[in-house]
């Protein structure tokens, strides 16, 4: 609450929804090709596999995963998961039977949604390829011709499984097996959609490939599955964005992302997560990095009720590098439990984890991270920096770092700062004519600026816009 001025009456928000969440519009469609009954069962899993006409091994994979999900207890070490009602969620919503290659062929309601979100416009300008997923299925996909000619594959995961069964079978679930954790098991059982990317040896994909995920139905689950293989010396930047309508009922998003980086290849994976504040976002992301390869996670979490996500990399080959730039913003009713895991399996490997979190209006951020160095990995360097900014006394930030270092030839740096936006900072900026809201915004955007700079320009602009919107009305 401001101390700088008489407090104005709060803006009346009749619907109880966040007016600053621009992606909160809903275009309910009732003609799903298939919508599974709420609840999880072997029947649902069978139905998904049936609709996708999957090979028997995948069907079996799903059924095994379902059993693992049922036996694994809900983790209690992170955010509060007790309110998730698995019986109320619809696990598979098939909006259409086919993926289109031209926006004009996408069903109108769905197309309107993506147009309002600016996806086709962005594709024309700055992207090498686009996937748009609506509830459970990818409804649109495209890739620039010259990339396709060079052998770059950018398909929906289902399509990838159909067209490249051997390649998919070789990698799928190998880095994140269903038994990895409860939500990886859930995803493995009911996965649908997501992307399959293969970049051939030496090919550099200059513009980003983008996937856009939209949960549209209330009480829906989205369980996309992404597999990226970057062959020797190749380069690719994959970007995903996520939004959902402002429904008051909860939704569940639980993705699995596996990335394989061959010798000398480089993958950057950027997430702009802006789910509505009723979505549980429980995601497992992991990269396997071979000799001289490089993985960069740029992981921006703005939305969701609870996010638990710790993108990790296993540095498996000599000289491999990993970097995570993690940004989290938690407002009222939100908990961002985010971080990263750096696993050094080989010598001369380096990792950097930079985390910046902002909590305001009673929101909570947690940094949770692991640096692990195996006994045989020599000459390892790792640096972890986590900075937290707390905007008011109602908000909270915690840091849970773990270091597991099993040999002595390691340089490890760890810095952590927690700062409160002080009255002195606000007063200084206000004395120069900025309102309290403008001053807070300026402090926050300055705080995240070092991370935003790492994004391509268009995304940097978008991120700044989202942060500004999030900061609107946060004071007073």
């Amino acid at each position: 609450m401001s101390r700088f001025a008489p407090i104005p009456p709060p803006a009346v928000n009749i619907k109880g929804f966040d007016q600053n969440y621009l992606a909160g519009f809903a275009k309910p469609i009732d003609d799903y090709v298939f919508k599974s009954q709420p609840g999880l069962s072997e029947t649902v899993v069978e139905a998904i596999s049936h609709y996708k006409t999957e090979p028997p091994w995948m069907r079996q994979f799903r059924k095994t995963a379902l059993k693992i999900f049922a036996t694994k207890p809900t983790p209690t070490w992170g955010g509060d998961l007790s309110a998730i009602d698995y019986d109320r969620i619809s696990y598979y919503l098939r909006p259409t039977d086919r993926q289109e290659q031209r926006w004009q062929d996408v069903p109108k309601d769905i197309k309107d949604t993506f147009e309002r979100l600016g996806i086709p416009q962005a594709e024309r300008k700055v992207l090498a390829g686009v996937k748009a997923q609506y509830d459970s299925e990818v409804v649109y996909g495209s890739i620039k011709k010259n990339l396709a000619q060079k052998g770059v594959i950018f398909l929906g995961m289902d399509e990838g499984l159909r067209k490249h069964p051997d390649l998919v079978k070789h990698y799928f679930g190998k880095l994140i097996p269903p038994a990895d954790n409860k939500f990886a098991a859930l995803n493995s059982a009911v996965w649908s959609g997501g992307s399959f990317v293969y970049v051939p040896k030496g090919v550099e994909v200059k513009l980003p490939l983008q996937a856009y995920f939209r949960i549209n139905a209330p009480n829906a689950g989205q369980f996309e599955r992404t597999l990226i293989i970057a062959d020797e010396g190749s380069k690719v930047h994959y970007v995903e964005g996520c939004t959902a309508p402002a429904y008051s009922s909860q939704s569940l998003h639980s993705a699995v992302v596996e990335i394989f980086i061959k010798k000398g290849a480089r993958v950057q994976y950027t997430t702009v997560q802006n789910w509505y504040k009723t979505v549980y976002n429980l995601v497992t992301k992991r990269a396997w990095v071979e000799e001289e390869g490089e993985m960069i996670w740029t992981d921006f979490n703005m939305g969701s009720r609870l996010t638990m996500k710790y993108p990790s990399f296993l540095l498996a080959g000599k000289g491999a590098r990993g970097e995570t730039l993690s940004m989290a913003l938690a407002g009222a009713g939100q908990h961002q439990d985010a971080g990263s895991k750096a696993i050094h399996l080989a010598s001369h490997t380096t990792s950097t984890i930079i985390s910046k979190s902002i909590s305001k209006g009673g929101g909570r951020t947690s940094y949770r991270g692991l640096v692990s160095v195996s006994p045989t990995a020599k000459d390892v360097k790792s640096k972890v920096v986590c900075d937290a900014l707390i905007l008011d006394s109602k908000s909270r930030s915690d840091t849970y770092p773990t270091n597991r270092i099993l040999n002595s030839d390691v340089t490890l740096e760890h810095e952590a700062t927690v700062s409160k936006v002080g009255e002195e900072q606000l007063f200084y900026l206000m004395s120069r004519g900025l309102t309290e809201a403008e001053a807070s915004k300026m402090i926050v955007s300055g705080f995240v600026a070092p991370l935003i700079k790492k994004l391509p320009l268009e995304y940097a602009v978008e991120m700044n816009r989202l942060i500004d919107l999030e900061m609107e009305g946060s004071v007073g």
Partner: protein
């Protein structure tokens, strides 16, 4: 019928009336009266703990420095309007400026972007392009001996004491307020820096007709500025006002005499 307009001149002054300021319920400023006219330079001198900085903070509206509320007479009037209840940014928009004794660091926000936003907040949308604004900023910075590369660095982040103080004066020259309070702007500066800062302050008073209140412990800076009025503040009150000679007198004899005189009075 012709209306009879009053011919009373519009009071474009900064008037402080019986100002009482308390921090944590302890009264620090105990009834200060002062009128500053456009273009005038006032100096408020006094020993440590006399309430000078509290006066400065209260004038700009820092919430920790509370004005005595049920004192009808206690007022800050700018251009004829009572600004005692306004938040700091409203005071800034009305033309008040405070150069801080301890300027605050804001990481990730460059000096030039901050100043452009502040300039727009105070003076409204400027016809100047970003480039023109930066050019004139760089020009002014050079005159103040500020390295141009400092302008693209984060606000006060890792700046030396002298750089911070010069930057306060750069802000003063850029924002061109009607009235400016300079809180210990000369402390921690070497003599060359004091000269540069003094020149900047005189420029603002002469060119932009800004009324200025210099709060200082030492009279060193006053040698280069020659204020129109000098006030001695002791124990939360202005106990003596005079012209430049008063500053001289302080240099010769220190505050001792004033403190003594005060204690005899008590």
């Amino acid at each position: 019928m012709k209306k009879n307009y009053s011919l009373k001149p519009i009071p474009y002054n900064l008037t402080i009336k019986d100002l009482r300021v308390s921090v944590d319920n302890k009264e620090i400023v105990k009834g200060v009266n002062l009128t500053v006219k456009p273009g005038e330079i006032h100096a408020i001198m006094g020993p440590n703990g006399s309430g000078k900085s509290s006066l400065a903070m209260a004038l700009m509206g820092h919430p920790t420095y509370k004005l005595k509320v049920n004192n009808e007479k206690s007022k800050i009037i700018l251009d004829g309007k009572d600004i005692s209840d306004l938040p700091p940014h409203e005071r800034a928009k009305k033309g008040l400026f405070l150069a801080f004794q301890y300027p605050v660091t804001v990481a990730g926000v460059s000096v030039q972007n901050f100043l452009r936003q502040a300039h727009q907040a105070v003076n409204g949308k400027s016809p100047q392009s970003i480039l023109e604004f930066r050019q004139s900023l760089t020009h002014t910075a050079k005159e103040l001996g500020i390295k141009p590369e400092l302008l693209s660095r984060s606000l006060n982040d890792g700046f030396s004491g002298g750089e911070k103080k010069r930057l306060e004066i750069l802000q003063l020259l850029t924002l061109r307020p009607k009235f400016a309070i300079l809180d210990e702007t000369d402390s921690g500066l070497d003599i060359d820096a004091v000269k540069v800062v003094a020149k900047g302050i005189k420029t603002v008073a002469q060119k932009f007709n800004t009324g200025i209140v210099i709060i200082t412990h030492y009279q060193r800076i006053l040698r280069f500025i020659k204020p129109d009025h000098v006030h001695i503040m002791v124990n939360g009150q202005i106990i003596k006002s005079g012209d430049f000679q008063l500053a001289h007198q302080i240099e010769q004899t220190g505050y001792k005499n004033f403190l003594k005189a005060k204690s005899y009075e008590l």
